[in-house]
Amino acid sequence: MQEIKGEDYIVIYNPETESISFQGELTLGGPSEYQPIKDLLEQVVESETSAVTLDLLKLEFLNSSGISMLSKFMLKVKNEKNIKVTILGSNDVPWQSKSIKNFKRLLPSAELKID
């Protein structure tokens, strides 16, 4: 179990369920501030796993830099790995209802589970 914690957010990686849970509000300033999360994502991808779940259900807010980071992660998987990606999202969270489907455009193999 690994986690990255900020003032308004927490990101938890659970290897057993092969899921990364994003909670709270991600309003970090730019790529450098997102770097620790980005590193975590890459580490998971590199760890010979065959599937990963991104749980965004409790992620209330994500800014453009965050979206950029996740988008790049999708591209990286598409280009480099054969990993099954599942994204859990919610239509109740404004940013998710608009942006999550774009992840599938970047990674057509990804599975979207939207409440």
Binding site: T27, G29, G30, F61, N63, S64, S65, S68
Partner: protein, 532 residues
């Protein structure tokens, strides 16, 4: 952008063409990589910019929504105040803000704090007032102008075996315990009076009690408060006192008290007295001791009370009052005029005759009485010692009336009056009154004239008296002149007509004595009685 290269065509390319192509492709690749980097840079720049913007908007939104949250808290607090569930610390997290909302919350807290303090004060004052009102040993009720209970105090509720809540909003007479009270209140409401007092009967546990009720308007006359005190005991005491006084009144008549200028028996003191000129009536049963000899004490009492009960009312009927009873004798006073006394005396005889008819029917011997009337000053007062006193009339005049009465026996007539009575009568011609004698009684030097009242005699006596009138008057004339023999002749003539005429017999006996003791020339026509 580089054209798509057909591999088949490339087979025909020369080495130089190929090198050229590779060179061109290399250049294209570098260009493309350059482009790619530019686009990525552009993306980074835009992302950076939008991230900054988003973060700012987001933080403002957050701030705004937290502000709205606080406003919601204040609104909630207002509702809590209304519902009475507000606690001061409800707004602490808003009040600590350093902005207008914080100030609003602080003002709100202050206001609520003051309000609560006042509420507590008010509740304290109310509790205090209630405690006082409940401690008051009287009934208190608040009543609306429509005649309904607004409330009552503990004492009132308890008196009627209820609790104060049972009264709120009820009609005044909902217990049917006192229609008089409801009537009193509605009369008061309709009147323009500010307050009113009355003694009102109220049924409590089936017993009639009395309350002194004071009612008063309050709240600018829009409601009224009624305060009541139980006066049942007091009234009872008052009634008992009245009964007691009435009981006393039988011993000391109210006329007696009036005479003494006293309102009631309680005010009477030993030595109280008053001196006045009144007509005095003295009556006595003749030979009472002889009659009484054959009776038991109880029979004597019964007899005397029977007799006094039969004849006493006539005294009151003629404005007189009984000063005292002495055994079978009545001593009465008539303050107004001598006619009252004379009429009472005549009625007294009438009543006696009636009484005697009753006695005769029952097989008893009729009794005879004597009545003496006199006018004089009497001293009416209270004698005795402080533990036992009685009314009494102390006066020479009273004694004289008694002496005159006792003379009736000697003259054999029912009633004798003194000249003081005769001379003061109004319309003496309405009666049949005749001069009888001029005498002094034992213990007195002054001579008085005595008159017989025929109206008080029975028919037979009147008949004889009228028949012997001329002879009797002549006899008296001779007697007064000291002409003993002529006087004797005429008295004898009277006796010839009425052999039991006691007066004539008395005169004859007297003349026998006078003949030997008195010189007719010194005769003043006054006979001196030396016995009682």
């Amino acid at each position: 952008m580089t054209q798509k290269i057909d591999i088949e065509i490339l087979k025909n390319y020369s080495r130089e063409d190929l090198i050229n192509l590779i060179q061109k492709l290399q250049q294209d690749l570098v260009k493309s990589q350059q482009n790619n980097e530019d686009i990525e840079l552009l993306l980074e720049t835009i992302t950076d910019f939008s991230t900054g913007l988003e973060n700012e908007i987001h933080s403002r939104n957050k701030e705004m929504s937290s502000y709205i949250e606080k406003v919601k808290l204040v609104t909630k607090a207002a509702i809590a105040v209304k519902e009475g569930t507000f606690e001061e610390n409800h707004l602490d997290e808003v009040a600590c803000r350093d902005d207008p909302l914080g100030t609003l919350a602080q003002i709100f807290q202050d206001m609520v704090r003051n309000l609560k303090a006042r509420e507590t004060q008010l509740a304290d004052a109310k509790a205090q007032l209630e405690a006082v009102l409940n401690a008051v040993p009287g009934t208190i009720s608040w009543i609306s102008m429509e005649g309904f209970y607004i409330g009552v105090n503990q004492h009132l509720a308890k008196t009627l075996n209820l609790s104060p809540e049972n009264f709120v909003g009820k009609e005044l007479n909902f217990l049917k315990s006192s229609p008089e009270f409801s009537e009193f209140i509605s009369e008061f409401i309709e009147s323009s009076e500010n307050s009113k007092t009355a003694e009102i009967p109220i049924y409590i546990n089936g017993e009639q009690c009395y309350y002194l009720i004071v009612v008063q308007r309050y709240n600018d006359g829009t409601a009224l408060v009624s305060v009541g005190i139980d006066i049942t005991e007091r009234r009872k005491a008052q009634k008992d006192l009245e009964l007691e006084r009435n009981a006393f009144a039988r011993f000391v008549p109210s006329e007696y008290l009036e005479f003494l200028g006293r309102e009631n028996i309680v005010n009477i003191q030993l030595g109280d007295h008053v001196s006045r000129e009144v007509s005095i009536l003295f009556s006595d049963i003749r030979s009472f001791t002889t009659i009484a000899e054959s009776m038991t004490p109880q029979e004597i009492f019964n007899f005397v009370n029977n007799y006094l009960g039969a004849v006493s009312p006539v005294i009151r009927n003629y404005n007189g009052f009984i000063m005292k009873y002495i055994g079978d004798s009545i001593m009465a006073a008539f303050p107004k005029c001598p006619n009252d006394a004379l009429n009472a005396g005549i009625a007294h005889i009438d009543r006696l005759n009636e009484y005697n008819r009753g006695r005769k029917r029952a097989g008893y011997i009729p009794i005879s009485i004597g009545i003496g009337l006199h006018i004089g000053h009497i001293m009416l007062g209270i004698v005795g010692e402080s533990q036992r006193f009685q009314g009494d009339a102390l006066s020479d005049s009273v004694n004289l009336a008694a002496r005159i009465e006792s003379l009736t026996k000697i003259y054999g007539i029912n009633m004798l009056i003194s000249d003081s009575v005769f001379n003061n009568l109004e319309n003496p011609q309405n009666y049949h009154i005749y001069f009888l004698d001029r005498v002094t009684v034992k213990g007195r030097k002054e001579a008085i004239n005595l008159y017989q009242v025929l109206d008080a005699e029975d028919e037979k006596t009147i008949d004889f008296k009228l028949k012997t009138q001329t002879e009797f008057n002549l006899a008296l004339e001779f007697y007064q002149q000291g002409k003993w023999n002529q006087a004797q002749d005429y008295f004898q003539k009277v006796l010839n007509i009425n052999e039991v005429d006691k007066t004539a017999l008395l005169y004859l006996k007297r003349i026998e004595i006078l003949k030997t003791t008195i010189d007719p020339h010194n005769w003043d026509a006054v006979w001196h009685f030396n016995h009682k």
